[in-house]
Every structure is written in structure tokens, then in C-alpha cells.
């Protein structure tokens, strides 16, 4: 972490409450007084409106739409193949993504995708701080949705705090029950939709709703229902603060040129209540209204500087903009800016954002490289593959006429959606004769069913009189009759010591 990032957290005021009145106190400040194990301090985020809240609503709608609609997209792959555009067929051991189909041994495409995703996350974090956390992470999206429900049922921050303090009554019970019922409904829909990525959606949704689907399906729907409900309804910011590893090492991607949510202390301090009609000379713009703390979904005070808990959602920016508008001061006391620029501004200069930094270029180059390798691998993905298992017992078979035979099990992977024929040939041992067990076909043509692996036993025979070294490298080739595509695999022909 660069020194500029280490903004010391100011000690809480010596006399708590002095000058604060009923001010909102950040979770961090409250927790600092706790023993080794802390009670969870419940956060009651206040509703807020503004530019970043709007962006968050728009992205929430977009991501939920993608999540719920993708399983219903169709993609024609011809007869015999599933027509779901995105499908992970675990029992069939295939994954489909639009025109791409991968077999289990091609899971490196998935690895490549994950590497790309990680690099993109690093890049986004270096550029814009925790935009992933604040805007796109499912934990954030679903928590936002749950908070919306909570606000509609129980009211805004103050109403919710009052409700929680109230003794139990029918009215309170009704509100709480309604909230949890809606939450569970959303959780059920979330878990239900997740399953649709693993089965054929249109054909399975009916049985699922009628209770006639496989018990395994209900188990997973139940599992994802419970996790969604717990994580988005109960755990919320605790996930980001205590469970997620990402906040713990994101500081490695941030530097003083990353654009992050930051309180402009040079402009805001010294903070203090402001009486209408009095001037602004000799004081900062922050009127210590603690609105920024009240709206924060993780309950922190952004004025304490960079904190592990901050998910970079920008809601405090919206809140403070509203306050500045009311008191007639320029907006963006809390803003998106680089720490370098903040340091410069504190000294009366400005420091333009440096977008092109070595780490950015390195991430871009790595993304380009991994992407290019993946595109090339996809473009050159063979439709036929051959693999060979050499018999180990016996290593060789002496024949009655003095000839010598080795036996192999071959597997031909037909990655097309039609039955295909292949001609087998042996290379590297001119005297050898190739034969397929059980076939007296001189043409050595074998076939494989659509999208399946065909297994054959083949024999390589060297006639009597040939003197061979103990091990001769050979290659078996399977030529796809229709396209001429050849799959090869190497092995050895073993002979007793001469």
C-alpha cells in the first residue's frame, strides 16, 4: 500500500456526544470500543436519490434481467442436441455456450474465462476502485433489492429503527412477517432460476412448479434459497467485511491514481454545524450532518478516510450532494477522485488523472494475451481427437509364426453432432500391420456415434524376421473420412530385448 493510501482514522472525540447531538455514529467508531468479540451493529441505510443511486438501480435491473432471462434463450444446434443457449449439462458432461460446446477435458476454457474475469476485475479496481463491489457484485445487487423491499414494508431508516425498538405487537409482527415472506419469495426465485442453467429450462419449469421434478433439483433450489435469504437479508455488509477475501487484497490493485470515493477533507474541514445566514469563511463545507453515514450500506463514515468496509457504491456522494445543494455550497464534497489529486488540491494544485499507468498497461496486455490464446484455441478446436492406452500386460505378444504383436485401446472423440467414420493408419513402423479387434475390414474404417467417445481395441503386428529395438515410437492416425481432418496420437511398439 502506498503511503498516500494510509489515511489515519481520526480518534473519536474525547467526549463522545459533544457537538454531535443525535448524530449518526459510524460502525467503525462504535466497534472500536468493543471487546474481542463484537456484537453486530445493525446498519439502517437511509434511502437516497442522486446520480449514483440511479446508476445502481439501472444496473440492478439489467443484471436481474440477464440472470432471469438467459436460461430461456434458445440456440439451434440441430437434432439430438439441447437447444438452450447457455447450459451446463452435468450428467451429460457437456457445457454449452451459444455456438461453443466444451467437453470435461476442455475445462481450461473455463479456467481461461476465470483468468480473464480476474484480470478484468484487477483492471477495473486499478482504474475505478471497488466498482465491482459497489455496482455489480451479486451480493450488492441482491442486498440492494432486499433493502428496497425492507424500505417499502417497514419504512425508511428512522421508521425501521423505531420499529426495531418497539415492543412486539401484532402490527410489528405483521410488518416483519411480510418483509421476510417477500424476501423468501425472492430467494426462492433466485434459487429456482439458478437451477435453470443446469437443466432444460422450458421443459423443467413445469415439473418444478408441479412438484414433480428430481429431488436433487429441489435440494439445490432449497440450498440457494437459504443462502440468498441469509446473505442478502441477514448478513449483508458482514459478507463484504468478514467473509469475502476480495476486500482483503484489493489494496494491492489500488494506488494513488485510482479513482475512488473520497471525502475532500481539505475542503470539508474544519467541519461543524452551520447556522443559516452565517458565512462560510474560516470553516469547512462539511456541516457534520452525518447524512453520508446514514445512507452508507456498510455503516461507515467516509470522512475517516479509506476503509476496508467501503464498497465504493457512491451513495454517500449522492447524499452529500443533496446536502450541499440545500446549504448552497458546490456539490461533490464527497467525490470520485484520486488520492494524488486530493493531496495536490490540499496543497492548492491539481493533479490530472493518470489513466495510463504501468499496472494498467500490464493488465491490458495480459487480458489481450489470454483473450487471444482463448480465441485461437476455440477457433482451432478439433472436432476429432484420438487417444491411446497401450496394453501393459502383456507388453508384447509372441505369435505362433514368430511374429510379434502389441495391443492398444484407442478412443476416438467425435465432437460433432453426426455419426462419423474414420480411417485408421499406423505411422513409423513400415513393416507393421494394423488390425481392429473384431473387424475383418481391410479398410480399417471405424465409426463413432454423435457427440460420443468410441472405444476400439487395435492390434499392431510385425511379421517374423523383423529385428526391432526394444521400443519403437509409432503414431496412430484417425482420418475423418468426410472432412479429411486427422487426429494423431503417439505411442510405442515394444519388443523383447534382441
Amino acid at each position: 500500500m502506498s503511503p498516500a493510501l494510509h489515511t489515519p482514522r481520526p480518534a473519536p472525540p474525547a467526549e463522545p456526544g459533544a457537538g454531535r447531538g443525535d448524530a449518526v455514529v459510524s460502525v467503525a467508531a462504535q466497534r472500536a470500543e468493543e471487546p474481542l468479540y463484537a456484537h453486530r451493529i445493525k446498519v439502517y441505510p437511509k434511502s437516497v436519490s442522486g446520480r449514483f443511486r440511479q446508476i445502481k438501480w439501472a444496473l440492478l435491473g439489467l443484471f436481474l434481467a440477464i440472470y432471469y432471462l438467459v436460461p430461456w434463450l434458445r440456440w439451434d444446434r440441430g437434432p439430438g442436441a439441447p437447444d438452450q443457449a447457455v447450459l451446463i449439462d452435468l450428467p451429460g458432461r457437456r457445457a454449452y455456450f451459444l455456438w461453443i460446446e466444451i467437453w470435461p477435458q476442455e475445462v481450461y476454457y473455463l479456467t481461461g474465462l476465470l483468468v480473464l474475469a480476474a484480470l478484468a476485475l484487477f483492471l477495473a479496481t486499478s482504474l475505478l476502485g471497488r466498482v465491482w463491489c459497489g455496482y455489480a457484485c451479486p451480493q450488492t445487487v441482491w442486498t440492494d433489492l432486499y433493502m428496497l423491499v425492507e424500505r417499502l414494508v417497514e419504512g425508511d431508516r428512522n421508521a425501521r429503527m423505531r420499529l426495531d425498538k418497539m415492543p412486539w405487537s401484532v402490527a410489528k409482527l405483521a410488518r416483519k412477517a411480510a418483509k421476510h415472506a417477500i424476501w423468501l419469495g425472492i430467494a426462492l426465485a433466485t434459487g429456482g432460476a439458478w437451477i435453470l442453467y443446469f437443466v432444460d429450462a422450458p421443459r423443467t419449469i413445469g415439473p418444478i412448479l408441479q412438484g414433480a421434478a428430481d429431488p436433487g433439483i429441489y435440494f439445490f433450489i432449497g440450498l440457494f434459497t437459504v443462502t440468498t435469504y441469509l446473505l442478502a437479508g441477514w448478513a449483508r455488509e458482514q459478507v463484504c467485511t468478514y467473509m469475502c477475501p476480495w476486500p482483503r487484497f484489493q489494496s494491492a490493485m489500488l494506488d494513488e491514481h485510482s479513482v475512488i470515493v473520497t471525502y475532500q477533507a481539505w475542503r470539508g474541514e474544519p467541519r461543524g454545524k452551520h447556522k443559516q445566514g452565517t458565512g462560510w469563511e474560516g470553516r469547512g463545507d462539511c456541516i457534520d450532518c452525518t447524512q453520508c453515514v446514514a445512507v452508507c450500506p456498510t455503516g461507515i463514515d467516509i470522512r475517516d478516510g479509506q476503509q476496508l468496509e467501503c464498497i465504493g457504491c457512491g451513495l454517500c456522494v449522492d447524499a452529500c450532494d443533496g446536502v450541499m445543494d440545500k446549504v448552497g455550497r458546490p456539490p461533490r464534497l464527497i467525490t470520485w477522485d484520486t488520492l494524488a489529486n486530493q493531496e495536490a488540491k490540499a496543497a492548492g494544485r491539481t493533479q490530472p488523472i493518470r489513466w495510463l499507468r504501468p499496472r494498467i498497461l500490464i493488465y491490458l496486455v495480459m487480458i489481450g494475451l489470454v483473450g487471444a490464446v482463448m480465441v485461437a484455441a476455440l477457433a482451432m478446436r478439433p472436432t476429432v481427437e484420438l487417444s491411446i492406452l497401450r496394453d501393459r500386460s502383456p507388453l508384447w505378444i509372441p505369435l505362433a509364426d514368430g511374429g510379434l504383436r502389441n495391443a492398444y485401446t484407442i478412443k476416438i472423440l467425435n465432437k460433432t453432432w453426426n455419426r462419423q467414420d474414420y480411417r485408421l493408419a499406423i505411422e513409423g513402423l513400415p513393416a507393421a500391420r494394423l488390425a481392429v479387434s473384431g473387424a475383418d475390414d481391410e479398410q480399417l474404417v471405424v465409426s463413432a456415434q454423435p457427440d460420443a467417445v468410441a472405444t476400439y481395441r487395435v492390434f499392431v503386428t510385425v511379421p517374423a524376421g523383423a529385428t526391432l529395438p526394444e521400443s519403437t515410437p509409432i503414431t496412430l492416425a484417425a482420418t475423418h473420412l468426410a472432412s479429411g481432418e486427422v487426429a494423431r496420437h503417439g505411442s510405442v511398439f515394444l519388443a523383447p530385448r534382441p
Partner: protein, 286 residues
């Protein structure tokens, strides 16, 4: 060394009271619910301890056991493959190789049955073993290598107790005084020439007459053997009991007679058929 719990001047955070070489630890409290999750895991493990077999010799309350589960699954699997086994029993063996999925099933079933029953003598890869356990992967057969012959050998055995067993007995030319040691040596010398190996011509010439008198009836004029009688070929490179002169002399003097059990009473019809097809597919099948 615990010190005073106090407020750290720089961060405003309380310390834990732990100090190592002057370095004090700030208190970053663990959430209580985390602790409760830990206790819940302990409670869960206690439930697990009671419900499932944990201590040796003490079953769990649920009565679950791995052995019973295995038995269940085996029974379920047997029920699942029963229709295939029925088809194997009712289809002519010669037709099975042409019937796609059934052949694949038979070969797989044969491989499993071979590993369970045949591998101890014939070897895991069916390569046989010295001392009378013939290789099943080469192209030499004593009692025949077509599907029918292989099936009969497996079902009834060789010199077994079964009424239909493969049965043949070579005379003990030496032990029973039918040939003198010199004559046996000459005969062995001649037998070597059958597979084209250099020998002492005069001895071989003497052996030829003895061979014509004593051996041709079973092993044939050119020593090619006779599948009907289980008389092995003496004219090729494959020797069940060794092909050097001393081994051949011993075979002539005291005869050989390996035994294979009959499997018809021990294995069911479908398994014998699967074994037949598997052995036939190993490379020597006719």
C-alpha cells in the same frame, strides 16, 4: 506478555492487551455471530457423532453403514443390468458381436468376470504364465479358438470333474518305460526340427522314425497338432511348457496335463457367454 488494554494513539483503536517485543496488537473484534457459527458446527458434529457410526463397534442411531449401502447399490446395479444379461442369454453368441451395445456390454462384463475368476492363472492381461497356463492373447490354441470352442472350454474345463470336460492324456513315454532315454533324446531332437531349429541331423533322423510311430497319431505328420484331441502344435514358436530340448525331453518322458476347472456350475450362463466373447476379442479369436 499481556499489557494494559488501552487506546492506540495513532488509530484510536483499542489494543488487545497482547504485546510482542514492543509491538502491540490492535483489537479488531471478531463478530459474535462468527463465534456462534463455530459453536453451531460443534453442535452439528455432535449430532453427526450420534447419528452415524463413529466409534469402532458402535453403530449410529440411523443404522447406516457403508457396507449396507454398497450392498444396496450393488443390488440396484444388478437389477439395472438384468435385462442386458437376459438378452445375452437369449441371443446366439455368434450374433452378439454384430449387435452394437450388447457387444460392448458383454466385453465389459467379460473383462470384470475375467479379472475375478480367470486372472489368477491366466494373468490380468491374459498373457498366461510359464508352467502350463496358456496365453489367451496369442494365436495358438490347444482346444480351439473360435467362439464355440472357447465357450466349451470355459464351461466344461480341461481334465476337470465335469462329465463333458475336455479330456486328453499323453502317454508317459519315459516313466512308463515305453522309450529309452536315448530314444527320447532323439525324438526331442526331431521335434526341434519341426519348428525349424538347428539340431543334430543324425539324432533327428533317428527321432523321425520314433515320432512317426508314437506321436503322429495325435500331433500329426508335420507336428501341427490337433484341436479335436487337444494335441498342441509342435511346429510353431509357442511352447506351453518350454521349447528348449531339455523341456521337450521332460514333456515326452513324463507327459504334461494341465487342469482347468469347469465354470458351468459356478458362473451363470450369461457370464460364461460374456467371458467367451471377451477372451475371443483379446487378439487370438478365430
Amino acid at each position: 506478555m499481556p499489557t494494559k488494554i488501552e487506546k492506540d494513539a495513532v488509530t484510536g483503536t483499542m489494543t488487545t492487551g497482547h504485546e510482542w517485543d514492543g509491538i502491540r496488537e490492535l483489537n479488531t473484534p471478531l463478530p459474535k455471530w462468527w463465534l456462534w457459527v463455530f459453536y453451531a458446527c460443534i453442535a452439528w458434529s455432535l449430532g453427526y457423532f450420534v447419528l452415524y457410526p463413529t466409534l469402532p463397534g458402535v453403530g449410529g442411531w440411523l443404522g447406516w453403514s457403508q457396507r449396507a449401502e454398497l450392498a444396496d447399490r450393488m443390488a440396484a446395479e444388478r437389477a439395472r443390468v438384468q435385462p442386458m444379461l437376459d438378452r445375452i442369454r437369449t441371443t446366439a453368441v455368434a450374433d452378439i458381436p454384430r449387435s452394437g451395445d450388447l457387444h460392448g456390454f458383454a466385453i465389459a462384463g467379460g473383462r470384470a468376470a475375467f479379472a475375478d475368476n480367470c486372472a489368477p492363472c491366466h494373468g490380468a492381461g491374459a498373457a498366461g504364465a510359464k508352467g502350463g497356463f496358456p496365453s489367451l492373447v496369442d494365436d495358438e490354441w490347444i482346444w480351439g479358438g473360435d467362439l464355440d470352442a472357447i465357450g466349451r472350454t470355459i464351461a466344461f474345463g480341461v481334465r476337470s470333474a465335469h462329465a463333458d470336460t475336455r479330456q486328453s492324456q499323453m502317454p508317459r513315454f519315459g516313466l512308463d518305460g515305453m522309450l529309452t532315454p536315448a530314444q527320447i533324446s532323439d525324438t526331442a531332437e526331431y521335434v526341434l526340427t519341426l519348428s525349424g531349429r538347428a539340431a543334430v541331423p543324425a539324432a533327428a533322423e533317428r527321432g523321425r522314425t520314433i515320432f512317426a510311430d508314437q506321436c503322429v497319431a495325435c500331433h500329426g505328420e508335420a507336428g501341427r497338432g490337433n484341436l479335436e484331441l487337444g494335441a498342441p502344435s509342435l511346429a510353431d514358436r509357442i511352447w506351453l511348457y518350454g521349447g528348449d530340448k531339455a523341456s521337450i525331453e521332460r514333456s515326452i518322458a513324463s507327459a504334461r496335463g494341465g487342469v482347468m476347472p469347469a465354470w458351468s456350475g459356478r458362473l451363470d450362463e450369461a457370464t460364461i457367454r460374456m467371458l467367451t466373447l471377451y477372451v475371443h476379442s483379446l487378439g487370438g479369436g478365430r
